[in-house]
Symmetry: C2
Subunit: 359 residues, 2 copies
């Protein structure tokens, strides 16, 4: 697909100007920009600037509050519930993760469930905030229902990602960040643009039959849970997506399951919503609360080294550790720029024109 | 397969007598028996009395200590590391979960990483201990390496299960308990006995090729991570198994990855083990530390009701919530008895003869 290359700084300035233009404070615009662009930098193109105009449309529809009063509404020594006041999830999740980290400093671990928020970008960004504190970071979020549980024709859960970041010593750290569906929506969109088929096991059609039609999701089909079908453990992917939903939304008082807020501003809100906004769940565990961090890191280095050097099936494809592919993207893109496909460039250009901001 | 029916009480007396015969205290024998039989009751036949003689062989090989001094070796307000002193995991994990629950009462959540332990039965049993305290329970354990990460020919991780138990009000609770491999080893053993093929996506052979040979695992093949292949997200199952391994064993100082202790006593211990025994990770989160438990349970009831009543693909197969199949087994087996296949009955009979204990 035709694309243009932008430097991180170009995208940073543009994105921050857009967030400022909708009324975000200097601090919030900075926070939101860094969180959003982490996706582009790490190669998760579906979750970065490609979504910027979507966030703005949510603000235009009054579903996003650019000047939220984010606050703790309940807490214990190791836990808190945060009300995001309908703010950008990109900002609310960072606020909540900082609370988790502070609580972990005080009593070993910190766990924050968030209500009344919106999409928070990539989960991995929030989990990685813990690394510099010698903590394990965790982040998850629910999202609008696109996935059908095992045996279900109905969409009941979102792609509900889980991220876990684990510090190391000399080796590059372990950073898992994955949707609990077999394939994320972004991968389907790529196939749709190419007019290509999807592999069996990614989606089902409106009747619940396996299909390779990459457009089936738009035609009332559904994404499948990790595992694809019951013979291959789809009930496990369904369980994982459910856990993310319950920790993020039932524990906080947000909207859960099929009642989760849709991302596209043109999609009507679900009827009879039981809670407030989307939910997230953020966690931090201080390594020192378990064993001395330097001992742990020595063992993590050995773990990472051993796995990166496991005997490969094909000598040309080394065994990877979670986070390795994204790290390669980060190195490449911070040095040589970030490719943005033409359709997204066009979308951003139009967005800029609306606010008199040049891309 | 030919089988015999036993009452829970018959199996309970027999199992407890065996644990007492190898030197367990009255309290430990009771704890171990309840934890072990929870598997048979819940229909997870591979993890119950079928393993009893395996535990005894580990004791005979001096790999299990029947009179362990289980103790906390490090702690913070919300965390602890427990040294299991090579005791039965069935006992050590219960001890550790009780600490997690006590810590959750004090500061909202409790997290215990365990070193120097052995196999702990089904993860779900330990997670479910939290339910009566209006807490969410979590349990995971590492295990000897049988699974090959994505792109790897080598076995690097165990079936590393994750269990999460979430309380509800009037509805039956949510209890997820699953291996992070596509199929658990127990399912392969059933196919082997039937001389049947395994589905593509469960195992690979010694060279890393997909195979349907149910015996491939015994011939230096490997189980595949949840997701089966990279096109269907096996890197996600590999990431989950890794997280279980690191939380259970690197955080505690147990043996991780390919160094984890083997369950069969005849398998030599791995060389150059970096830690002590197997590792577990137990967690408890007090609902009240997030929001009033009665409000949470009302929402969980709605969640559970909504998912159990999602539109099914086939009217004959309702949509299930994690824990539902095991609950049906429990009801049936506590009323009508527990079927044990003849080969296991024979194994138990021989085991009883060794200690002069009747089945």
């Amino acid at each position: 697909m035709p694309e243009q290359i932008f430097s991180y700084n170009q995208l940073y300035q543009f994105t921050k100007n857009i967030f400022s233009a909708i009324g975000c404070s200097e601090e919030h615009a900075t926070t939101a920009t860094k969180a959003l662009l982490a996706a582009d930098v790490r190669g998760i193109d579906s979750h970065g600037v490609a979504r910027l105009s979507g966030y703005v449309r949510l603000w235009e529809a009054k579903r996003v509050n650019a000047t939220p009063n984010i606050r703790i509404i309940h807490e214990s020594p190791s836990t808190a519930v945060v009300d995001g006041d309908a703010g950008l999830g990109l900002v609310v999740a960072v606020y909540a993760m900082n609370i988790a980290i502070e609580k972990a400093k005080q009593c070993g671990t910190g766990w924050v469930s968030v209500q009344n928020s919106n999409h928070f970008g990539i989960a991995g960004y929030h989990a990685m905030m813990a690394l510099q504190h010698d903590m394990i970071g965790m982040a998850m979020t629910n999202a609008s229902a696109l996935m059908a549980p095992t045996f279900s024709k109905e969409r009941m859960l979102g792609t509900n990602p889980i991220a876990v970041a684990i510090p190391a010593g000399n080796e590059e750290p372990f950073i898992a960040d994955f949707a609990t569906t077999t394939a994320a929506n972004g991968k389907l969109e790529i196939l749709q643009r190419k007019h290509a088929d999807a592999p069996v096991g990614w989606i089902q059609d409106e009747e619940g039959n396996a299909t390779t039609d990459a457009h089936a999701l738009k035609n009332k089909g559904a994404l499948l849970p990790l595992g694809s079908d019951s013979e291959h453990g789809s009930h496990k992917g369904y369980a994982l997506g459910s856990i993310v939903d319950i920790f993020s939304a039932v524990l906080s008082g947000a909207n859960y399951g099929p009642w989760a807020n849709p991302f596209p501003a043109y999609v009507p809100m679900p009827q009879n919503q039981p809670g407030k906004g989307l939910g997230h769940f953020l966690g931090a565990m201080c390594i020192d609360a378990f064993r001395p961090a330097d001992e742990f890191k020595k063992d993590m280095d050995q773990w990472l080294h051993r796995f990166r050097n496991a005997t490969p099936i094909d000598a040309a494809q080394k065994v990877l550790v979670p986070g390795d592919p994204e790290r390669l993207f980060e190195k490449e893109r911070m040095e040589h720029g970030i490719p943005i496909v033409d359709s997204v460039v066009e979308d951003l250009t139009k967005l800029g024109q609306k606010f008199n901001i040049n891309l």
